[in-house]
């Protein structure tokens, strides 16, 4: 379990913003928390998976992909801001992510 600090939040936000700017070939300043990942950036699930792998490595997370998948069904992500919030919960709760719904 990683204790979430302001530094981690800023780091995660920076990684996600830069990731989508690179992958979707858009200027970084055009992305904000309300940017719709599919409609505005033409993002896809492979990008989502790639980001998960980035954070799993960076924070040495113990979490199964299917746990994230089950969580995502209940908490679908559309915007960059929602994705950041989901990543924060993944980092904080790892494999206990689904228990946070109980």
């Amino acid at each position: 379990m990683v204790k979430i600090t302001e530094n981690i939040r800023a780091e995660v936000t920076g990684i996600i913003y830069n990731f989508f700017a690179d992958e979707c070939e858009v200027d970084l300043p055009t992305i904000n928390d309300n940017t719709n990942i599919i409609k505005d950036l033409d993002g896809d699930s492979l990008m989502f998976l790639e980001l998960i792998e980035i954070f799993k490595k960076k924070y040495n997370l113990d979490i199964e992909l299917k746990t994230i998948g089950k969580y995502a069904v209940k908490h679908p992500v559309q915007t960059i801001g929602e994705l950041i919030e989901m990543q924060m919960r993944i980092i904080e709760f790892e494999n206990k992510l689904l228990e946070t719904d109980k």
Binding site: D44, S45, L46, E53, I68, G69, V73
Partner: protein
């Protein structure tokens, strides 16, 4: 800086034409028009009406396959004209036909005839039945086998793109069921593909004899460039091995993930996706190793051309 050796990799048929390449690939259009003319003469006069921006033929499964093959051949010839040549190649699913053309084993026209004949033979065996294909992202093979065991009679895992990306073939009803189950099991994404044929599954084994007989009527040459099999990752060095691969390709499970690893372990440092779109490039992000993947467009992007000088011998 991309390194040699280079592998050309050819995608399966497209479900959309994602970008018009004429703006950043000067000269590509002339290759495309050249092959359109040949294809219209050899197999289907209406193909000459293809327009990249009009996205025509996407609702026609056979013409989509023919167009994808034609575009793949156009891209590979365009690259050769720019002195970008492969040391090896591989074709994802129906991409095997473009790989065979690129390797010098078959003529462009014979590739068209192979695609049409395979489609016709398959259609005979699937007529009146509802089949389909689907993809699952985010589950392991073990997870998928577990949900398949319960009541799947026709479902097979027919291809693997990465450790967490799989493709199924089977009856349409069972495909839909398994996609639902996969979603409930925690898949990050599920998708029903826009096809009516259960490619690469045992359901198509009856095509073996008629399609094999058709292939015998064509003139295959030994590949000038080694082609890696998606069935068992062996290197197809002679015409006989390639002919067998093309026949078996229709009804045998493939593994694209292992094929990429095999190409990499054979020394390939750069993979170039010769076809419309960049599906293979996107999937390659989950392939471990040091090799790099490029779409043709990315090689000629004015912003990054300077970093790709090593590929050009002119």
């Amino acid at each position: 800086m991309p390194e040699k050796p280079i592998a050309f990799i050819f995608p399966a048929f497209v479900t959309e034409y994602p970008e018009d390449p004429s703006s950043n690939l000067p000269g590509f259009v002339s290759y495309c028009n050249f092959f359109l003319q040949k294809a219209a003469t050899a197999i289907d006069p209406e193909l000459i009406d293809f327009n990249y921006n009009a996205k025509n033929f996407l609702g026609d499964e056979l013409r989509t396959q023919l167009m994808t093959y034609l575009l793949c051949c156009s891209y590979s010839e365009f690259l050769k004209e720019n002195n970008i040549v492969p040391s090896m190649c591989a074709g994802y699913s129906m991409g095997i036909y473009a790989a065979a053309y690129q390797a010098g084993s078959i003529s462009f026209e014979d590739g068209l005839f192979l695609i049409r004949n395979a489609f016709m033979e398959i259609s005979k065996f699937t007529a009146g039945k509802k089949y389909g294909m689907g993809t699952v992202l985010g589950l392991s093979r073990e997870d998928i086998i577990q949900i398949m065991d319960e009541d799947s009679e026709t479902i097979e895992i027919v291809n693997q793109n990465s450790p967490y990306s799989f493709i199924f073939s089977g009856s349409l009803e069972e495909i839909k069921k398994i996609l639902d189950k996969a979603r409930n099991e925690g898949a990050l994404n599920i998708r029903l593909l826009n096809v009516t044929i259960p490619y690469h599954s045992k359901l198509l084994e009856a095509t073996k004899e008629p399609f094999g007989a058709f292939i015998e009527s064509l003139s295959f040459k030994d590949p000038e460039i080694p082609i890696v099999s998606l069935i068992d990752q062996s290197v197809l060095k002679d015409s006989s091995a390639l002919e067998k691969e093309i026949v078996r390709n229709l009804y045998t499970n493939l593994n694209w993930y292992y094929t990429q690893l095999q190409l990499q372990s054979s020394g390939v440092r750069s993979f170039i996706e010769c076809g419309p779109g960049k599906t293979l490039v996107k999937n390659a992000k989950f392939v471990e190793g040091e090799s790099r993947f490029y779409s043709v467009s990315s090689l000629f992007d004015s912003n990054i051309t300077s970093s790709h000088q090593g590929l050009f011998e002119k």
